[in-house]
């Protein structure tokens, strides 16, 4: 028994403070719904790799947000770039119904900018039996992206499509060892305390 719990006043206070509030069913439901809606990663923006698990409401709100941004950009650019962007800015700023893909193209400047690029990953480990690359681009799925061993047995590599931008990643060695890339800068997630390697994927 600790000093605090030998004291009758404190012991009683601790008993009081340890009482759990009643289960709040509605609050728990809201928590799960909010979490399900909030889990969005760059991986989701790649239509070829999107997962059915993601919340539909987020996708709708993303499109609305992008539409608003594209409308703003359309207004700003219409004067200076009349000849080039006439069609796009008119579509975005007129308020006329338009399909989401055309709005997305306007916001991203070109479709090419948002398209995934082939990104190589290389990892040096001669003792590993299997290595997977995990990152926000594949939902940190430890089984999604296996790497291939080189003929000399030293290097593991793979090339996968990744949306341009900043991504966090690591290597999963033998299903259990989360290993950073020694050749890449690293960052620390404020919530996790865990580190990840950073890669900036861009167009050449």
């Amino acid at each position: 028994m600790s000093d605090a719990e030998r004291d009758p006043v404190l012991r009683r206070a601790l008993d009081e403070l340890r009482k759990l509030p009643p289960a709040d069913v509605g609050a728990m439901r809201r928590v799960v719904s909010a979490a399900a809606a909030a889990r969005v990663t760059p991986f989701d923006s790649d239509p070829g790799m999107s997962s059915p698990r993601r919340g539909r409401s987020v996708r709708v709100w993303m499109v609305v947000g992008i539409a608003a941004a594209s409308a703003f950009v359309g207004f700003a650019l219409r004067g200076a770039w009349t000849s080039r962007s006439h069609a796009a800015s008119t579509a975005a700023s007129s308020g006329a119904p338009s399909t989401a893909p055309s709005i997305v193209r306007t916001a991203a400047s070109t479709e090419l900018d948002a398209a995934p690029v082939q990104q190589p990953f290389v990892f040096n480990n001669s003792r590993a039996h299997k290595v997977f690359v995990v990152g926000d681009f594949n939902r940190w799925d430890p089984t999604a992206t296996p790497m291939t061993r080189s003929s000399d047995g030293e290097l593991w590599s793979t090339v996968i499509p990744v949306v341009p931008g900043r991504h966090m990643y690591a290597f999963m060695v033998d299903d259990s060892l989360f290993t950073l890339d020694p050749n890449a800068p690293k960052t620390r997630d404020p919530d996790l305390g865990a580190e990840g390697s950073i890669i900036i994927v861009g167009r050449p």
Binding site: A4, L10, L20, A23, A34, A36, W140, D191
Partner: protein
Amino acid sequence: MTEHPSTPVRRNDSASRQFLSGFPLQHPAQASGLDSRTISRAKLGDIDAFTAIVEAYHARCIRFARAMLRNPDDAEDMVQETFVRLYRALPRYEERQRFEAWLFQILGNCCRTANTAFQRHSSRTTNDEEAYERVPSIDDPAAQFDHEWSEAVRRALAEVPEYNREIFLLHYIEGFSYEEVERMTGIKQSALKMRVKRASDMLRTRLSEGHR
């Protein structure tokens, strides 16, 4: 130290078991002892596994947030924010760290941030009529005494400085060892023990004064 009631306590009412029609629930006995498999499934985005986590820890998180926040009415929002951040970060969770230590680390961060924001906007005033309505009318003298004691404890705890209160709650109420709290906060054990002692002394003094 005596055993803490810190393990997740599950209520066995039917509402609790069926609170999410869209997200099937675990049996209470399974969810109370979250196994590594549930956490692994949640890491991969399995919403059912995440639901089990929320069920197991929600009440404890609310209890901690109410004790930590300057405005206890914000507890539910803070706990929701914590679970959302947890869910987003889950894929990178390393299982060598104790799961609930990580959860309370995030919750502590959220509460501290909320307290800072609340302090900035502390010009809020309480509507007296509203406050009056919140006080329940209790006829039973024993219940009235319990209610007064409960309020006294909460008022006394609220007077304990936040940096001591958090450690006190993590250790005595949530049942984390000093080693675990050191890993969670980065504060040396000797300093942690001092903070817990100061919080205990202050709590004892305030309660003794109030109930003499």
